[in-house]
């Protein structure tokens, strides 16, 4: 097996300077006559052929990385075999990892929210590809110059459809101790909510400047997080909004069932800070007293498993975001009831779905400033009240509901954009009956169906359907 060095040529790649060396691998700048993109080569540091963890971790990366697509992962250019020199060549993401930023201490709060939402976006994109990262930490998070977060190092990752070589091989928990989820400590490697815990730990560190459970070195110290709760962020920084603390501590719940059930839902809360439902978590001012911790310790010290995880794809299905576009005009009144029935039906199938109730105020193209006056504000509030009245029949806990009134000259475009922004999986909306006017001007629902990135269900009144058929 060859060792990497500056000037080495392999499969047409020429190694430049070494950019980074870590415990398990080194990163080299490389060039190739046929490729113009700046690239790096990752080469595992293998001591000998018995170096199990490094080899298997690298095998896992070689399996998973070429299957990933999108802006949140580096593009893979080439791979090399172990018989000469194992390597992965990938695009260079300039700017270094978030580690440097974490090393500087607490972040300004607006940055915490923005970067956390971006990390959440990247992690959710990964989950949508049936992969759990399982090693989220500052050093594994990069940012493109355009702002998108890029996740790297998939040596501990788990893919739904691929064998878990690591589980087959090792019996020790793997991960980065400051950020590892409790169920990972119990050697469960199949829960996307483990990434939610790590994200919570990262957010906690952004806010407070220190990881929630310190920097444990030994496994015995790592286990403490099964019963010992972290000091609430507001105890360090009173200006942290209760809503943000709520999000962080919910992500850090020991029991995966009590965390967010998808990263998209966490991101959704970051985007709607005013509508985060506060519980004791958000208002907590100090860690739990020794009595509570003792009771938890008695319960948790012998626990062997936490939560029961499904395949990533099944977990995502249970925790989706449903955007319901409610028409509050007199014309849409008849559709309000059937729309409610359909939301009920979907909740029966997926009780953990977040419902984003949305209404669009149509603005004239040129007169947008009109909406900024008192009349506009009144209309905005009236619609919000209307939305809440409509949703009250759902009888859902408030945490599961959000209300948004959008404004725009084209209602369909407003719905499409909003769905993309909140990461909606499904859009539910009514369609008014067919009319000549609508045939010429185009209907809102047909544009949404045609252009939205989400699945779309359109509800019609049975009578409207018949009339439509008669006309069309």
């Amino acid at each position: 097996m060859q060792k990497p060095r500056t000037g080495l040529e392999i499969d047409g790649f020429t190694l430049g300077e070494m950019l980074h060396v870590g415990g398990f691998a080194s990163i080299w700048a490389v060039t190739h006559a046929l490729y113009r993109t700046p690239m790096v080569m990752k080469v595992p540091t293998i001591q000998d052929s018995d170096d199990g963890p490094t080899i298997v971790g690298f095998e896992v990366e070689q399996m998973i990385m070429p299957r990933l697509t999108g802006p949140h992962v580096p593009r893979i250019i080439a791979q090399g075999d172990f018989d000469r020199m194992a390597y992965i060549v990938q695009e260079l993401i300039p700017g270094g990892s978030l580690q440097q930023r974490f090393d500087k201490g607490p972040w300004p709060l607006p940055d915490v929210v923005e970067v956390s939402a971006r990390i959440a976006e990247a992690v959710h994109a990964l989950h949508l590809q049936h992969v759990v990262h399982l090693d989220l930490k500052p050093a594994n998070i990069l940012q493109r110059p355009t702002g998108e977060v890029v996740l790297i190092d998939f040596g501990l990752a788990r893919h739904d459809d691929l064998p878990d070589l690591l589980e087959e091989e090792f019996a020790i928990p793997m991960g980065s101790y400051p950020y590892i989820a409790p169920e990972q400590i119990l050697r469960q490697r199949d829960d996307l909510r483990s990434d939610i815990f790590s994200l919570g730990a990262l957010m906690y560190e952004m806010v407070t400047g220190q990881p929630p459970f310190g920097m444990p070195q030994k496994l015995r110290q790592v286990r403490r997080r099964l019963w010992r709760d972290p000091v609430p962020p507001r105890a360090f920084r009173p200006e942290v909004p209760e809503g943000l603390q709520e999000v962080i501590l919910r992500a850090l719940e020991v029991d995966p069932e009590r965390r967010y059930q998808s990263v998209a839902q966490l991101r959704f809360d970051l985007q709607h800070p005013a509508q985060v439902t506060l519980t004791g978590r958000g208002r907590k001012a100090a860690p739990d007293g020794w009595g509570t911790v003792f009771v938890r310790w008695r319960k948790m010290r012998r626990v062997t498993a936490l939560g029961r995880a499904d395949l990533v794809v099944a977990q995502l299905g249970k925790a989706s975001i449903l955007l319901v576009a409610v028409d509050l005009t007199p014309e849409g009144e008849a559709l309000a009831a059937p729309l409610l029935i359909w939301v009920h039906r979907m909740l029966t199938l997926e009780p953990d779905t977040r419902i984003a109730c949305t209404n669009v105020i149509r603005t004239t193209r040129l007169g947008i400033e009109n909406m900024r006056d008192a009349l506009g504000d009144n209309l905005h509030v009236a619609r919000l009240v209307g939305l809440k009245a409509w949703a009250s029949a759902l009888d859902l806990p408030e945490a599961q509901l959000t209300f948004t009134v959008l404004e725009g000259p084209e209602p369909a475009q407003a719905i499409i954009d909003h769905a993309a922004q909140i990461g909606a999986d499904h859009i539910l909306m009514g369609a008014r009956g067919h009319s000549t006017v609508r045939r010429y001007l185009g209907s809102v629902s047909s544009k949404v169906v045609a252009e939205a990135a989400a699945s779309v269900t359109v509800i019609r009144l049975p009578g409207g359907m018949a009339a439509g058929q008669a006309v069309g």
Binding site: S49, D50, I55, F58, E59, Q62, M63, P66, R67, Q79, D81, F82, D83, A86, D161, L162, P163, E168
Partner: protein, 246 residues
Amino acid sequence: MLLAILTDIHGNREALAAVLADQAARGCEGIVILGDIVGYGPDPEWCCDRVMELASTGAVVVKGNHDDAMAIGSGGMTDNARKALDWTRPRLSAEQSAFLAGLPLWVERGGVLYVHASAEAPDEWVYVTNEATAAGCFQANRARITFCGHVHVPPLYSADLRGQVAASRVKFGLPFPLIRSRRWLAVVGSVGQPRDRTPAASYATYDPAQGDLTFRRVAYDCGTVATKVRAAGLPEALALRLLSGD
């Protein structure tokens, strides 16, 4: 070049036709047949002709134990297998028999070994059914990837750098990366007589450039074949087996 890997056709015309259509629709450019073209099924002549045609246009074909039994007799076979082989033998033309008799026991192409049963002793028709038998197959050859059939149930085995053998669960329809740090042994499921409790025909596609192996299933009209088995007077168990896939 995407390869279609077929094995254990066993005189099942409908299954072979369905699999050939499926691989063509998926853009396969090469075909490998791991033997047992005849035996059990009611259309050995058609299947032989079709495979001869494929061989003449570049398909790799190796010999299976049922193909071998055409020339050397059915000793050591189960009752039903022997009955079907004795029924098959007189139906084949001299040309067809000569084709089967002339097939190689194994073929190696570009670091990939194609063989009907375990490579341990290709003419002894050892079944690869667990990690121990897979280890025997790995030790007997040096190819990085081995494809075999014979078992009619598709598992996948790998040997890591230390030679440790592990079985992996097979998921149909999903590409499985045969990562280059390991050696691989893929037991391809049967086209004409699946035994993994699903009657649909089984085969695999392999993309050497990506290193991805995909086990595939193709539904076909097994009812018609079962009817033909009965009409030919072949054992009833062979008809039932096609319908239940076990």
